[in-house]
Symmetry: C2
Subunit: 327 residues, 2 copies
């Protein structure tokens, strides 16, 4: 079993690559749910749905999110009723939200609903929400504290991010299925998702970091920063305004203590020695920019080959005697 | 102010005719809500929406219900998720249900939501649910007791109707706006809707019949039975299996005591003398079969002219001394 940690579009691409590279059923994807919110009375789970649609082969290749060929008649009719159509939801996409909202209202867990959706859409991998409890990313900006989608979609990430918090995180429980998957994993892959607002909330679920640190499997992370820029989204600016180095090495620094190894893009190959020397992480330098499915699979295969050759060592009692010069 | 009582398609047609024939704002339509039900976690109000879409000029002219040109991507995607798409809901139509469900969940009354929807879609008439409380028509058949839409849509009205009841009706309250509209009306028009399952529930709301009987305005009903058949729906078979005469006169008999006058189709002109003699109702015989908007307006104008010439007399102390031979 391979476990991937993922946010939205970038994470979904590598998750799809892993699914293509592995036997059916060998992948579990732990997905950020701190972007989730309610709109029009429906529960919207952007990252879960992006991973779902991508793994189901339904994702819109233009945007990375939403369903290919989806129409917008429902949203248009909501606008006619005076509702603000600021968050783009397609007609087929609405079905997901309607179904999920009803199931949650009937008492189903988000985990159960994600499994149902994955099953209905023929996804061979397991889709695991990071928690079944409600967590909400809040972003502090010069314009004040914003709900995540307000910052991300409505205001198009134009605000400097001065702080990030996850409301509800202290009460969020680690689902048994997530804990079991991490404990049983052969390899754990941190997808190239935003370290602050995608991987950050996953890691902040009480018990998650301890589970990752205690896992027998090595943990390998793919840098979402390539050549000093985020391939998608505001991760680069966000790292900068929060005082982190805007580089693959900066991401590696954030992940130190629970990640064993980093996969860097060829553009950042010069950072590999520093990451190895300063953080004690193994590195793989390769082309990490994913396009269509074949390139996702190719990267996944390289990550799998690299990761399977690693020995987990981070954050656990070192096999090397104290004082012997371990990094 | 003219008040119309209406169910779905047939009632909506005459309501549209009345709206076309009257100055804007002079029509209030009291609509059956006993067909309402929940589907996919959304509150569906078939008759309210049929009247809404018809008065807004959006109705599908082929079916009489739904929105013209609407698509079915959401329902198709729900089917892909394993949900049974037995009840046809269009993409634009879903917006109505989503909006309404959210507003009801936030504590708005059905009356308030109906007013918002009518306003948003530019309807100049008032749309008044018969009650804000939940009432559900149940149909007893040889196959057992069925929820209304189960009988009406899923089983296509194939079952004989042996009995009809309205669950929740005893606790349903007459909205103030309905009581006020009836009290202030110049004329009350009972649209050609199913007497049992459309007009029946409206009349069964506690206080409704008393309000109608106490109204200063005359009440005129348009027969939904023409030539011994319902123009649409199962009213004819339902009247028969419930032991009523399947005729305009049979409908008049059901309405006796609270309706002053009947409008009959020319095909039933021979029943006019009987209705007048046996029930004391005035009658108008004309072409009651409505097609496009112009024929709806023409019938409405005839009904208005006829109704305005009437003096209300049903169910109230007769101005004629007892024993003087009043019918």
């Amino acid at each position: 079993m391979i476990v991937a940690l993922a946010g939205g579009v970038g994470g979904a691409k590598l998750a799809q690559g892993l699914q293509l590279a592995l036997p059916p059923g060998d992948l579990a994807v732990v997905v950020n749910t701190a972007d989730d919110f309610d709109l029009f009375g429906l529960r919207i789970c952007p990252d879960l749905d992006t991973v779902l649609y991508t793994l189901a082969g339904l994702a819109n290749p233009e945007t990375g999110w939403g369903i290919a060929g989806d129409t917008a008649a429902t949203l248009g009719a909501l606008a006619r009723l005076g509702r603000d159509p600021w968050f783009r939801l397609g007609d087929q996409d609405f079905a997901t939200h309607i179904h999920r909202t009803e199931r949650l209202g009937a008492g189903a867990t988000l985990t159960a609903v994600a499994a149902e959706l994955a099953d209905a859409l023929g996804v061979p991998s397991r889709l695991l929400p990071m928690t079944d409890d409600r967590v909400a990313t809040l972003v502090d900006t010069p314009a004040g504290r914003l709900e995540f989608q307000e910052y991300f979609v409505r205001r198009r990430q134009r605000d400097d991010v001065l702080g990030v918090s996850f409301a509800g995180i202290d009460d969020a429980r680690l689902p048994d299925g997530v804990a079991a998957a991490i404990a049983a994993a052969e390899l754990i892959v941190v997808c190239p998702s935003n370290p602050i607002v995608s991987v950050g909330p996953i890691l902040a679920v009480p018990g998650m970091r301890a589970a990752l640190e205690a896992a027998a499997a090595p943990v390998v992370a793919v840098s979402p920063i390539v050549g000093g820029r985020a391939l998608k989204g505001p991760a680069d600016r966000m790292l900068g305004t929060l005082g982190h180095a805007v580089s693959a090495a900066g991401v590696a620094g954030l992940y130190a203590g629970w990640v064993d190894a980093m996969v860097l893009d060829a553009a950042d190959g010069d950072q590999a020695p520093t990451i190895a020397a300063e953080l004690g992480m193994a590195t793989l330098v390769t082309d990490t920019v994913m396009g269509a499915a074949e390139s996702r699979r190719r990267l996944a295969e390289e990550v799998l080959a690299f990761g399977r050759g690693l020995v987990a060592g981070r954050g656990r009692p070192s096999p090397v005697p104290a004082g012997s010069g371990a990094p």
